[in-house]
């Protein structure tokens, strides 16, 4: 009797195997190819680009320092903006070298602590690497130093003031160099780490991708808009408030994430991205939804022609619309996409319930 059941059991398995083979469908996708594309065409070229821009930023600044002029100061400020926009393309990859060196926080923390900066300058001696100065460095610190009232007067008359700017720039340069160098050896680790456990580079990439999007939603837009403070707007939290570049920066950040999603390289060529993985998993509808939401969001910037601070008072509804569209995309990428990839958020035991 039992042998018969046992036979049936084996038979069933063989049968299922056999008939399922007939509808064997080719949907091979290769995570290794995705990571290769990301390393070769996205991450490393973006870092290289950022490094070039930071390098010329330092050169422009030292040239301005040795022979100050209004025109040269304008060049410095323009290059600062160029760096700020370029940074939006590298801050997403906060794993490996970036995580180890604290690159993202050191360069991108905002809002900046103006009191701390002023007291540092007044003292003339400081250690920018300490935790107390974590909010007094990076691109946001220079936003204040370059764009506050009488910035030109201050930078050309105070030795400490302009030295502080240089120190901040050189700190960023050193940190960028460290990350760029570390990537040359880290690259092979990155490409090989295709697992779905939470510590794999593929998982970290997806998690950071989602996190960066959420940061754009909350820190760059939601907080100033009062979404986290009972509806009361908080302009003091606006990124790059002094220069008023917050909206272009937000737009660059969102655009960068959209390009990462599609695997578009720094040279503009479309390579293997998350979209291809979803298509491989036969999730075409999800891919279409995500891509069209990216497009919608891009279009929602059109009503704005002023700084975020002014738009907060004049164009609140348009900002709310933008905020809602960005929030909607979080559901697609963080829930649907991540779940489709089968990524584990913890390395603990989990029996799937």
């Amino acid at each position: 009797m039992n042998r018969i059941i046992f036979g049936i059991l084996i038979g069933t398995i063989v049968f299922i195997t056999a008939c399922d083979k007939n509808r064997n469908n080719k949907n091979d996708f290769d995570k290794a190819a995705l990571l290769q594309n990301f390393a070769d065409n996205i991450i490393q070229p973006r870092y290289a680009d950022f490094k070039t821009k930071i390098d010329s930023f330092e050169i422009l600044f030292t040239s301005f320092q040795s022979n100050p002029s209004e025109a040269k100061f304008e060049n410095v400020k323009t290059q600062w903006k160029v760096c700020y926009l370029s940074f939006q393309g590298v801050k997403t990859f906060d794993f490996g070298p970036s995580m180890n060196t604290g690159f993202k926080g050191a360069i991108g923390t905002f809002p900046t602590d103006t009191t701390q900066i002023s007291s540092n300058i007044a003292a003339g001696t400081y250690n920018l690497a300490t935790a107390t100065n974590a909010d007094a460095v990076g691109l946001a610190a220079l936003d204040f130093l370059f764009y506050q009232t009488d910035a030109y007067l201050k930078i050309t008359t105070s030795q400490f003031y302009s030295q502080y700017c240089l120190d901040v720039i050189q700190k960023m340069k050193a940190e960028t160099d460290a990350v760029v160098n570390a990537w040359t050896t880290f690259k092979s680790t990155f490409i090989a780490s295709t697992g779905n456990e939470s510590t794999s580079m593929f998982s970290m990439l997806v998690n950071d991708f989602c996190q960066d999007w959420e940061e754009a939603k909350a820190a760059k837009l939601g907080i100033p808009l009062g979404k986290y403070s009972l509806g009361i707007q908080r302009p003091e939290y606006i990124e790059a408030r002094y220069s008023g570049y917050s909206l272009p920066i937000l737009k660059a950040s969102l655009k960068s994430i959209a390009e990462i999603y599609s695997g578009i390289g720094f040279n503009g060529q479309d390579g293997v991205g998350f979209d291809d993985y979803l298509i491989g998993l036969k999730k075409e509808n999800l891919n279409t939804s995500i891509k069209s939401t990216f497009q919608t969001i891009d279009g929602l910037f059109s009503p704005f022609n002023s700084t975020l601070e002014i738009e907060l008072t004049q164009n609140q509804t348009a900002l709310e619309n933008l905020f809602n569209a960005i929030s909607e995309q979080v559901i697609f990428i963080k829930t649907d996409m991540t779940a489709s990839f089968g990524i584990l958020i913890t390395y603990q035991d989990n029996d799937g319930d």
């Binding site: 059941i5 299922i16 399922d20 469908n25 949907n27 403070s229 649907d336 913890t346």
Partner: protein, 425 residues
């Protein structure tokens, strides 16, 4: 047990799961179980380790088994975030071992004459352990009889393809047919393996199946020591002769033949009614889901303690809002302000945890004063609302909790969870 506990401590999970979190999610009816402060949380783990050691060698067996059961169960009751079916299994077996004389022969207790040496055990002693194992398999099998598992091969389809980078086998893992083979094999295996284990002719083959099956799951899924627990506990199905041979091999000492005979028990009635109670509890609990409307995987009413293993790939994304009852001013709460990433992940898809979290948030925000641009804003009896989207077994995400409901006033009980949105297949 020993390995499990060491692994837990060495992986830093004591810190991560029981010391770092500020808040915990106790089980309904066990809200009085509280964690120990700070590093004192290592204490139950140390107790567990020591008692497992004593238990294994059968040294002061009774005390060891009590400490083992209590410390393990205490840890598991603290936070349902960490609920796993195999922890429940361990708790149940530890509970059974309280009453079983597993220290009668090859134990230090017996060797040192701390307990009378017995060669025989009552049949029910072995029987109840077999029953417990059988329950796990059969109910895990019954739970797999659902359309997601059988006709979509989900969630296995999702989990297997994620391993497509593995050498050799990798390229098959994203083939749909393989997910079907795994699903059906798993289901048939769970349903019928016990029958083959009971029959002495098929037992050796069945056991080979057991080993292969659990090794495969151990390799592909993050289920910790569970496969090893099952591989070794299934040995209980083998005959006394088999176990004697192993014992002889270990102790190198000639043994008299052990056999299973019914011994006169001092109070047969008590034992048999206790057994009936335990057995019916075990059979009824997994079926309690039938008392609820709607989709089991969606509302999870009657989901836990039912051997529903590896059945769901459920991910959620939620935004929580505090709405002041007077001014109706609202604000979204930052993700992960109060919970660890693991807790957040588990909470978003489990309705009872969502309600518990709402209570946590209410206590945090009620009466709190915010200074926004210099103005004090006191929050008075806030509503806690949430908008949560959940994706289940590869379906597009759907609304799970609709914004607008005050979660604070919804009671966390065993009634139908009508406050959830309906599930669309």
């Amino acid at each position: 047990m020993l390995i499990g506990t060491s692994r837990f401590i060495l992986n830093g999970w004591v810190q991560k799961l029981y010391i770092e979190p500020t808040f915990f999610f106790p089980f309904l009816g066990f809200e009085w179980v509280k964690p120990l402060p700070g590093n004192w949380m290592f204490l139950p783990f140390v107790l567990l380790f020591v008692s497992a050691l004593f238990f294994m060698f059968g040294f002061f067996y009774r005390i060891a088994s009590v400490v083992l059961f209590l410390s393990f169960t205490y840890i598991e009751l603290l936070d349902k975030t960490n609920y796993l079916n195999h922890y429940y299994f361990v708790s149940l077996v530890a509970f059974l071992m309280l009453f079983l004389p597993a220290n009668r022969y090859c134990s230090l207790d017996a060797q040192l004459n701390l307990t009378p040496k017995h060669l025989l055990v009552s049949k029910w002693n072995i029987g109840i352990l077999k029953f417990q194992l059988g329950i796990v398999y059969v109910f895990a099998g019954i739970a797999k009889l659902n359309s997601d598992w059988l006709f979509d091969a989900n969630p296995l389809k999702i989990w297997l393809q994620a391993h497509h980078h593995l050498p050799l086998v990798g390229k098959f893992l994203q083939q749909e047919w393989l997910a079907f083979v795994f699903s059906w094999t798993g289901c048939i295996y769970d349903l019928f393996i016990v029958i083959f284990l009971f029959n002495k002719h098929t037992r050796p083959f069945a056991y080979i199946f057991v080993v292969i099956f659990h090794l495969v799951t151990w390799y592909l899924f993050p289920i910790g020591v569970f496969p090893w627990v099952m591989i070794f506990s299934t040995l209980i199905f083998f005959s006394p002769n088999f176990h004697e041979r192993i014992l002889q091999f270990i102790t190198k000492e000639k043994m008299q033949t052990l056999s299973q005979k019914t011994l006169p028990t001092f109070n047969k009635k008590i034992v048999s009614s206790a057994l009936i109670l335990f057995v019916s509890f075990q059979i009824l609990v997994p079926f309690r889901y039938l008392a609820y409307d709607g989709d089991l995987f969606w509302h999870e009413q009657g989901f836990r303690f039912s051997w529903r293993v590896m059945l769901m790939h459920k991910e959620g994304y939620g935004r929580f809002f505090v709405v002041d009852s007077k001014t109706k001013r609202e604000m979204e709460l930052p993700q992960q302000q109060f919970l660890t990433p693991i807790q957040l992940d588990q909470m978003l898809t489990q309705p009872d945890m969502i309600l518990q979290y709402a209570q946590i948030l209410y206590k945090e925000y009620n009466g709190k004063t915010f200074y926004v641009a210099g103005l004090p804003l006191k929050i008075h009896k806030p509503e806690i609302q949430a908008e949560i989207y959940v994706t289940l077994n590869g379906r597009p995400s759907q609304l799970f909790v609709r914004k607008g409901k005050n979660l604070v006033t919804i009671k966390n009980d065993l009634k139908n969870r009508t406050w959830l949105e309906d599930f669309k297949k």
